[in-house]
């Protein structure tokens, strides 16, 4: 009987093998480069807006605000990630090897953990990139600057972060809270792509998510009779 430590090591090797191949693929590298450039432009436009209104924000609350709005552009961030994860499971010789050497259950669990790792990596990467670009445009301090500005007589609609969030959470808590829906959306997306790939129809998962993502910028849902946007 094989030892538990060996099995975990084998599982780890499968996950890392897939992850290593993914991170070195041209799709991932090019999309990461695109993400860095797009993030720079997003932060630049955000800082121009701040400067124009004469406001200052701390790095944590700026980051919380940008994540609460889905990295300011949930559509673009998700499309970029969709391109990166479009090949699931990865069609590499290492996959054949692991399929022969490991049981199906172990192989599937390794794939699920690999999906989890990809999502965590992408969120961490984007958060880090945004944080780095925000550093030069942020002011020192803690707490919500919006609350301080409102106390000085700012009109409530000019506040960046919604009142409910400012009252109930600190910027760090809001930042963590903002990550949760992004993580759940991307993790579901990756699992559905993997699911259809394992069924032998990888194009269905991709087409489904492309339709969901692109329809948000193409279809004017608000004007459809009887359609109400969830608040």
């Amino acid at each position: 009987m094989r030892k538990k430590g060996n099995l975990l090591r084998a599982q780890g090797a499968m996950i890392l093998g897939n992850f290593d191949s993914w991170i070195r693929s041209p799709r991932t590298i090019l999309m990461l480069l695109f993400t860095v450039t797009a993030s720079f432009l997003t932060v630049r436009s955000y800082s121009i807006g701040l400067r124009a209104s004469g406001f200052t924000m701390t790095a944590t609350e700026s980051l919380a605000y940008l994540l609460l709005t889905g990295f300011k552009n949930q559509f673009l961030a998700s499309v970029t990630f969709l391109v990166m994860v479009s090949e699931l499971p990865r069609r590499i010789p290492f996959q054949q090897y692991t399929l022969i050497r490991a049981s199906r259950t172990r192989w599937i669990s390794a794939q699920l953990l690999y999906c989890f790792l990809m999502v965590v990596f992408m969120i961490a990467f984007m958060t880090l990139v945004f944080a780095l670009f925000l550093l030069p445009v942020s002011s020192p301090g803690s707490g919500w600057s919006d609350t301080a500005r409102l106390a000085q007589g700012l009109e409530p609609e000019l506040a960046y972060v919604p009142e409910w969030i400012r009252i109930h959470f600190s910027p760090i808590q809001a930042l963590i809270m903002a990550i949760v829906p992004i993580f759940l959306f991307w993790f579901t997306m990756v699992l559905i792509i993997l699911f259809f790939s394992l069924l032998g129809a990888p194009i269905i998962g991709l087409a489904l998510y492309s339709t969901i993502l692109f329809s948000s910028v193409i279809v004017l849902f608000e004007d459809l009779p009887g359609f109400f946007m969830p608040m």
């Binding site: 041209p26 799709r27 090019l30 695109f34 450039t37 797009a38 432009l41 997003t42 630049r44 436009s45 673009l76 391109v83 479009s86 692109f214 329809s215 910028v217 193409i218 279809v219 004017l220 849902f221 608000e222 004007d223 459809l224 009779p225």
Partner: protein, 262 residues
């Protein structure tokens, strides 16, 4: 050249691309039409409003580079992967091959995008009331007064607006198709060759050229957007021509590298 054009207009890819863009145009117009269907005819939106509304809504501008690349970029990837390109270049020359490919890409991209707009215009001219407006009418589109479309919308059927927009969209679509073709030579990946023009478009729209070259750089959708003036026409055409030229030079460089390693 004839064979290249035949491949570029291969029904499956060409019609799918055109259908996709046509649906994008109507993602705005159909919900609008359903919303105003039971209104008094005088207050309903005209065919011109419904045709061009999809462009101003924004989705079409974003999807256009992707749709324009669909007919030719995957074909280029196939030729590279099967090494068919090596035989074609050996039997001809890089210059001749580039001429054939770039022309086919431009024509197919222009046909996909311009064709989708033309279909959209035909559809809404059948369904909605034609655009015959006077300056004091309710249906006047509030273009800026120096916008070239402002006076054109008062002409019978507003046909110059349709023609101008179709030409602008087709020209931009052709250049985006060349961008996709160039991307295909370097990445040799079908999905990336379609997505890269979209990425270039997005970075351009988000203001990367303004960061690199200073402000005053035209928007990538200026040629068919609602604030078009004559100086903007010249600027946009010049920038698009420069983009096309850079892409062609890069494409030839990519081919030369390929031939050296073949």
């Amino acid at each position: 050249m004839k064979e290249e054009l035949r491949l570029a207009f291969e029904p499956k890819r060409f019609w799918w691309a055109m259908l996709l863009l046509f649906l994008c145009f109507n993602g705005f117009s159909i919900p609008q039409w359903l919303n105003i269907f039971d209104w008094e005819p005088a207050f309903r939106e005209t065919s011109l409003m419904l045709t061009i509304g999809g462009i101003f809504f924004g989705g079409v501008m974003l999807i256009m580079p992707l749709c324009a690349s669909i007919p030719m970029a995957p074909l280029q990837v196939d030729e590279l992967r099967t090494s068919f390109i090596d035989w074609r270049i050996f039997r001809g020359s890089i210059r001749r091959y580039t001429l054939c490919k770039v022309t086919a890409a431009f024509v197919s991209g222009a046909a996909v995008t311009g064709g989708a707009f033309a279909l959209d215009a035909i559809l809404w001219n059948i369904l909605a009331s034609p655009c015959n407006v006077t300056p004091d009418s309710y249906s006047v589109i509030p273009f800026a007064e120096d916008c070239i479309y402002y006076s054109w919308q008062f002409m019978p059927g507003a046909w110059p607006v349709y023609v101008s927009m179709m030409l602008g969209i087709a020209f931009c679509g052709g250049i985006w198709a060349i961008t996709g073709l160039t991307a295909a030579v370097f990445v040799q990946d079908k999905l990336l060759s379609l997505i890269l023009p979209f990425c270039v478009y997005y970075l351009w729209r988000a203001g990367l050229p303004n960061v690199l070259f200073g402000s005053g750089f035209p928007h990538p959708a200026d040629l068919y957007n609602d604030a078009l003036t004559w100086p903007m026409v010249y600027q946009s055409v010049a920038v698009y021509l420069a983009l096309g030229l850079i892409c062609i030079l890069l494409y030839m460089a990519g081919l030369k590298r390929r031939v050296r390693s073949a």
